[in-house]
Symmetry: C2
Subunit: 261 residues, 2 copies
Amino acid sequence: MSSQPLISVFLLLLVGGSVLESSATLDPIIRLPTTSDGLSHGDDDGLYCASWHLAAETNNAGGWKQIPSRCQSYVKSYMTGKQFDSDCEIISNFSLAFASTVEMDPDGKDAWIFDVDETLLTNLPYYMDHGFGSEIFNESCWDGWVALAEAPAIPSSLNLYNALKQMGFKIFVLTGRSEHQRQDTSKNLELAGYTGWEGLILRGASDRGIPATVYKSERRSILVNGGYRIHGSSGDQWSDLLGFAVAKRSFKLPNPMYYIP
Amino acid sequence: MSSQPLISVFLLLLVGGSVLESSATLDPIIRLPTTSDGLSHGDDDGLYCASWHLAAETNNAGGWKQIPSRCQSYVKSYMTGKQFDSDCEIISNFSLAFASTVEMDPDGKDAWIFDVDETLLTNLPYYMDHGFGSEIFNESCWDGWVALAEAPAIPSSLNLYNALKQMGFKIFVLTGRSEHQRQDTSKNLELAGYTGWEGLILRGASDRGIPATVYKSERRSILVNGGYRIHGSSGDQWSDLLGFAVAKRSFKLPNPMYYIP
């Protein structure tokens, strides 16, 4: 660690570069055939889609706009079966295991950040009607769904949220939803069982067009400037977790349905 | 991005914190029961182990010293079956898809970094004799295996390596192996088909006891100081990829057998 001061400038430049790259879009569908004989996948959707899913969850896949068309039934089975709930539960367990190692300070500045969609809430009812990510995102359809405020909680996320609150963590909800959706979002969170957050942060007019990685990093850095120690961050997108002012530990929830740069 | 200079100090501090956290050890076996009713996993090793594996690959699991004992047959099936090869192949495809978007500069400073163990080479023959990660790491046994120089190439990694070389990338092999293993490592890489690297970087005496994340970040920053542009980095451990002086895109190969902080 002793050489860190010497390379801090490279750290800044390269993480900055990394933020930009993470928002670059590479379409696996177009590119895969150009870079592989594809033989081991060609005739086995299960094998291919499980590999594609792991690549997406580990951020190896880069940006993508739709799930591979051959993987719609894989994603449907994953999201509606036992594995998704099991995967979310073990991540909640690891999150709480880490939280229990944090020495809480009486100053009340120990913080945890949660994303909303596919993190605190699941929009599976919406995506079941929209091909599980095989359709291109339709903003007006999506806004209609958000206005219903009917997205259920992910049970293991609700358990984690309440446990962290009990332990004294200040909880900040940081979402890519727009400021004009504050009331619907707040209503949905409360109906799903989430209460007592310290802050609910949404995209303002000045955040339009900024990649989520940058928008969320800037909001985290404001919290850090305010004296908060961001111990944990939970999100289903790497753009919830990467960039600057990152949490000490980040927890990536599974989401094979969509990608946000 | 405009606010980056204002928060660069927090970036440095928090990425530093993140590096330290990433080497913290949390034992999922001990902690899971304390944070979950475990009902959805209790009697289903397949469900649990698939969730544990995803948590390990996404760096949600934190540090671990052994695979969960109940997952030895899962890890054996994964590593010896089709899924591991398929997962490695699609990551190689995404890596090459990204590489093909890089505008190469005639200055010959476009670089790609590869880790060795479970990235260029597979030590599966060794781990088949050592419980697929269910045994605590034994350094003398391991050193004996390294001296044999018999680790095979991961086929999709060899394809990627050769394709990147063809495209003009300067390849740096950055491994946690020790300097005294240079000859055996170089011999093994060549026997497996890897040739023409720009540099083979091993841990020197001064690197003893430094977490891999810091050691590898320091070595990358030396390359950056030397004018190299690190476009891609391939490794099976998050400690190959995180920290500072990170590549523009990092590619995490699967490894459910061991964790290196």
